[in-house]
């Protein structure tokens, strides 16, 4: 049942979604897609998309046990996401076409690489 647990030996394969910052292994992204963003990122089964929309460079692991109650989740704007492991900072930029898609969908994309912090 502990699907979000990643053994230390497997942690090198971890990637973080650049949109929701969830941290999973590459294999899980490939097999299941991003649990939060699959609707518009369509990561499942598409390695290219995984490569461009998730990042191996991330810092600050957060485990969210209760996304509704947690202030950390709220602050990180993770409330409403599934519980799981997230990153505080995900380096890398979404490809422009994906960003455009997000905008067209009316989804406010929050960069997870720290560039949004100054804006607030």
């Amino acid at each position: 049942m502990s699907e979000n647990y990643v053994a230390p030996g497997q942690q090198r394969y971890l990637r973080a979604c650049m949109v929701c910052s969830i941290v999973m292994t590459y294999a899980r992204f490939r097999d299941e897609g991003c649990p939060n963003c699959e609707d518009f990122l369509h990561l499942q089964g598409s390695p290219d998309q995984i490569d461009s929309c998730t990042s191996q460079v991330f810092e600050g692991i957060i485990t969210i046990a209760n996304p509704q109650k947690s202030w950390v989740a709220k602050w990180q704007r993770l409330d409403g996401y599934v519980k799981g492991v997230y990153a505080t900072k995900v380096s890398g930029q979404l490809p422009d076409d994906v960003r455009t898609t997000l905008e067209d969908d009316g989804i406010q994309y929050i960069p997870r690489d720290g560039s949004a912090t100054e804006a607030d």
Partner: protein, 989 residues
């Protein structure tokens, strides 16, 4: 059926999204899906209008509305607006929504009077009931978990961060200590525990946990756990490895909570920037230049200078023992060199593909362009911060241009360097300009530098005279054209000195003093220069170093240029060499010794003069085999360095006043007397030994010096110099120099000399042990007043005259006569030390001279020479009469002890000791003796001549001639003080 219902939920979600984001390109698909798979729902549009009115918050209605929208445009539009408002309301209470939605849903449906609807509902309930709880949970999660994100985005757009600041209602965050480097593992362990216990009685009561570890993070060693109560954390973390909730846990204050999650953007890599490689082990730390960065910024194409050995070291992969070399342990890595097609072709033609036109190659799977290796590297394998490229490294990249022009992108370099402000060191006195920030344009003199803050005394402009503090980030040193500056670091021009000729921003061009070339450096690498010209050094080689050029050639560096050095080799030739041509640098051998033409030892730093030729004089800087490199200040040629053979110089002055004249060859080794009589020689030189245990042991002593001064103790053990003393008062044993001890009588407490009682033990009387260390307190000084000569002679042949003299009250006149010289040592030297007088070392003391000097030596101007010395021969100069007389110690005992016929042949002790008198020394030797008996054998008197020369004088003559033969001094110059002696030497020569 289960799948149907599930599908239904999923479709529901999809349509929610569509609804929410009105650009439903795929909506029709969804609709079709619904229609195809869920025929049971087809009736729904009919009843939906009612439901919509009754529960505006319901989600399902939207799907229906959409469906209608396909047919009724106007109504759909109106509905949409409603939805928008609803949406805002919903967003604020997701929880409520999730909690209520489902029952609502069902209740709504229940209210309908549609039979089919009822049946459908019943079936669904039945089905749901039949599922086990876990499955149901799964379904619910699937349904709402997926729905949440879409709603979440709506929230995010609306709520700014400042409204998210934590309040007292939010859970608290505790910092919990954990093992450094294990933060991530701990977080995952917590995740696992949360999931394992989910749905059980003891669910993990925390809401979140996070880490901000990392090698350079200040937050490493902690994880942060968010929970309502502290006890929850203890429960949650109990038994998890590497985290220590029980040691100390800090509550993070509410106002600090946002800081815990602060994220600072890593600056983007720009093409042209400099980075250092972290990953391929062979290239760790190498500088690389970014050529290109991938769109997502996670990978960069960089170029760097390859380290290739072109297969030269391939072979030892399989070592002799058949074991494969461990790949993780690379040997010494090859040096950085640009890729060479020719070399690659030599060994691995098969692995090489490429295009000579574009000069791009693929070799062994690596790409090379223009000699540089080009590679895509992930940015986590690049060191982006604090790169600090040196100009030297950077120019390697720049020199890729074929015409050799500097195509250096100083801008990119400057940008890289600017980030690393710590490399800039401002020193009080620097003239500094502020080029960035509020104080831009201010110019002043640094008066104080503390950390990153520089205090400036403003010298120009409106603020003149004011003192301001500025962070050193926006500062640069300011120079004016014409300033004389020195390069202080960070570039390959280090230590160059020159004049500023051009300044562009923080790039300063200067004309060097040494080579008159223009160089450009950053102003941060400059300082106002006080000196002229650089004391050159090139890599590890600096001026005046001795270097090995090839197996047989060494040279001294006499000039250091930018890229090469000029070397004066042992043959006196100068040549210009590259550092790469230098095999290695020969370390300065401090204790190298050579012999000058007189056989005197010469060492480094001695001043010597060439005997022939140009009579150059200089200080020895290197001794290599038989060559010595000298440095003189009288000429500038070759930086004042010249080379000559050691045996063609004479000593002018030895360093530290070492007596080169007398401290020449090892006397005892050449002393025929000692050779003849090894027994005597063996005992001659070493300090008189004592036998048996040290007498100091078990003596009561008082410590005279140091921290233990005044304490009484008993000597437990001794070495030559130290004693271990058990203190009465402290009951412990300390080690203390014997010199610091004063021996006390156990009973009376009076200061005693332990050796006094040892008077009967002549061996101890040697005093070399105690006295040698104790300076003035020679044990023997006070001892042995009752000693008789007979006693002395019977005791030890090693006894020196000095010793005797000190020891004995029964000195014979003859004794006094000869060894009076020892007098000066009486106070300050050991008896044995006095004995060195005849070794020649101490022979220069005035006392010695006063005691035995004869008029003759003065006439040579050799103040230090004892008569016998000069009379004997210069080469044996150290041989004083005292020596001659006493060398065979038995002889030294002289007739007083009636011992050695050889030395005291005349039976006249005074002649033995008075040998230095002109009469004795010079007139006694017959020419025949001198000439015919130059060998030690002569001394052993096998020939009549020798036999007939039993007087010390004769003996000395023999010696003297022997010495001549060996070291060939010119007796003419030195000797021949008396008519008697002169002919002999003249002949000899």
């Amino acid at each position: 059926m289960a799948s149907n219902s599930w599908q239904f939920a999923g479709a529901d979600d999809e349509s929610d999204d569509d609804n929410f984001n009105p650009a439903p390109a795929d909506m029709s698909d969804e609709e079709n899906n619904d229609n195809d798979e869920e025929t049971t729902h087809n009736h729904r549009p009919a009843g939906k209008t009612v439901r919509q009115a009754s529960s505006p918050g319901n989600r399902r209605k939207r799907r229906n509305k959409d469906r209608r929208a396909a047919f009724f445009d106007i109504e759909a539009e109106v509905d949409d607006e409603d939805e928008g408002e609803d949406e805002v309301g919903d967003g604020e209470e997701i929880e409520d929504f999730i909690d209520n939605a489902h029952p609502d849903d069902i209740a709504d449906s229940g209210r309908l009077n549609d039979d089919r609807r009822h049946r459908e509902l019943d079936r669904r309930r039945e089905m749901e009931a039949s599922l086990d709880a876990e499955k149901q949970a799964e379904i619910l999660r699937e349904r709402y978990g997926k729905r949440a994100p879409a709603r979440g985005y709506g929230d995010m757009a609306i709520v700014p961060r400042r409204l998210l600041l934590p309040s007292v209602e939010d859970p608290s965050i505790w910092a919990v200590r954990c093992k450094e480097g294990k933060e991530r593992e701990v977080i995952f362990s917590i995740m696992r525990r949360i999931e394992e216990r989910m749905g059980t009685k003891n669910e993990v009561p925390i809401t979140a946990a996070f880490e901000r570890g990392g090698i350079n993070s200040v937050m490493k060693g902690y994880i942060y756990v968010e929970a309502q109560r502290q006890n929850d954390i203890l429960v949650a973390l109990d038994g998890i490895l590497n985290v220590y909730p029980r040691s100390n846990m800090h509550l993070v204050e509410i106002k600090d909570m946002p800081d815990l999650l602060r994220v600072i953007k890593t600056p983007n890599l720009e093409p042209g920037a400099w980075v250092r490689l972290k990953k391929p082990a062979k290239h760790v730390g190498d500088l690389a230049q970014v050529i290109d960065v991938t769109e997502n910024g996670l990978e960069a194409r960089v170029r760097f200078i390859p380290r290739l050995d072109y297969g030269v070291r391939d072979d030892p992969v399989f070592q002799a023992d058949g074991k494969r070399k461990r790949p993780g342990v690379p040997g010494p890595r090859p040096p950085q060199r640009l890729f060479s097609e020719a070399e690659a072709r030599k060994r691995h033609p098969r692995y090489l593909q490429g295009n000579p036109q574009t000069n791009s190659w693929n070799y062994n799977g690596d790409d090379f362009e223009n000699g540089f290796q080009v590679k895509d590297i992930k940015i986590q394998q690049l060191e982006v911060k604090d790169v600090n490229p040196t100009l030297e490294e950077v120019t390697k990249f720049a020199s890729g241009a074929e015409d050799g022009t500097e195509n250096l992108d100083l801008k990119a370099l400057a940008a890289t360097l600017k980030d690393s402000a710590k490399s800039v060191a401002y020193v009080p006195g620097d003239i500094i300009e502020v080029y960035e920030g509020e104080q831009q344009g201010v110019i002043g003199k640094a008066t104080n530098v503390q950390g990153d803050i520089v205090t400036l005394q403003v010298t120009e402009g409106d603020l003149a005279g004011r003192t301001i503090d500025v962070p050193n980030k926006g500062l640069r040193k300011r120079f004016r054209i014409g300033d004389h500056v020195k390069v202080i670091g960070g570039s390959r021009f280090r230590d160059e000195v020159g004049m500023v000729v051009k300044i562009v921003d923080d790039r300063v061009t200067l004309l060097t003093d040494q080579t008159n070339t223009e160089i450009t450096v950053f102003s941060k690498d400059l300082r106002e220069a006080s000196d002229i010209g650089g004391q050159g050094s090139l890599g590890q080689y600096s001026l005046l170093d001795l270097v090995q050029l090839d197996a047989t050639t060494v040279g001294c560096i006499v000039k250091v240029d930018r890229e090469s050095v000029v070397v004066l080799d042992q043959n006196g030739d100068t040549k210009q060499v590259q550092p790469s041509q230098i095999t290695n640098k020969l370390p300065k051998r401090k204790f190298a010794v050579a012999a000058d033409r007189n056989g005197s030892e010469i060492r480094l730093d001695d001043v010597v003069r060439e005997y022939g030729g140009q009579q150059r004089q200089g200080k020895i800087i290197h001794i290599h085999r038989s060559y010595i490199f000298l440095h003189t200040t009288t000429t500038n040629e070759n930086a004042g360095v010249f080379v000559t053979r050691a045996n063609s110089v004479t000593t002018v002055a030895a360093k530290g006043g070492r007596n080169t004249a007398t401290a020449g060859p090892d006397l005892s080794a050449m002393n025929p007397a000692l050779k003849r009589n090894p027994a005597a020689s063996g005992k001659q030189m070493p300090a008189p030994r004592t036998f048996g245990p040290d007498r100091a042991i078990n003596q009561t002593v008082v410590i005279r010096r140091g921290g233990y001064k005044g304490l009484l103790g008993i000597v437990k053990d001794t070495t030559d110099t130290h004693a271990r003393v058990e203190l009465h008062s402290r009951g412990k044993i300390i080690t203390i120099p014997k010199a610091d001890l004063s021996f006390k009588d156990k009973v009376t407490g009076k200061t005693i000399d332990i050796n006094q009682r040892g008077g009967s033990r002549g061996g101890f009387g040697g005093g070399g042990r105690g006295g040698g260390e104790f300076g003035s307190r020679t044990p023997m000084a006070s001892g042995g007043s009752d000693r008789t000569p007979a006693w002395g002679s019977s005791r030890s042949t090693a006894r020196t005259p000095a010793w005797n003299r000190d020891a004995g009250g029964s000195r014979t006149p003859a004794w006094n006569d000869g060894s009076r010289t020892v007098n000066p040592y009486d106070g300050s030297r050991t008896p044995y030390g006095g004995a060195t007088a005849y070794g020649g070392i101490g022979s220069r003391t005035p006392a010695w001279h006063s005691g035995s000097r004869t008029p003759a030596p003065d006439s040579f101007g050799h103040g230090s020479k004892t008569p016998a010395w000069s009379a004997g021969s210069d080469s044996w100069g150290s041989k004083t009469p005292g020596y001659g007389a006493s060398a065979p110690t038995p002889g030294a005992s002289g007739d007083t002890w009636g011992y050695t016929p050889g030395a005291s042949g005349g039976g006249n002790s005074s002649s033995a000791y008075d040998a230095p008198t002109p009469g004795g020394g010079l007139s006694a030797p017959t020419p025949g003796a001198a000439l015919n008996a130059p060998t030690p054998g002569a001394y052993s008197a096998p020939t009549p001549a020798a036999v007939s020369a039993p007087t010390p004088g004769a003996w000395q003559g023999g010696w003297g001639s022997g010495g001549d033969a060996v070291s060939a001094p010119t007796p003419g110059a030195l000797g021949a003080p008396t008519p008697g002696g002169a002919p002999g030497y003249a002949d000899d020569d």
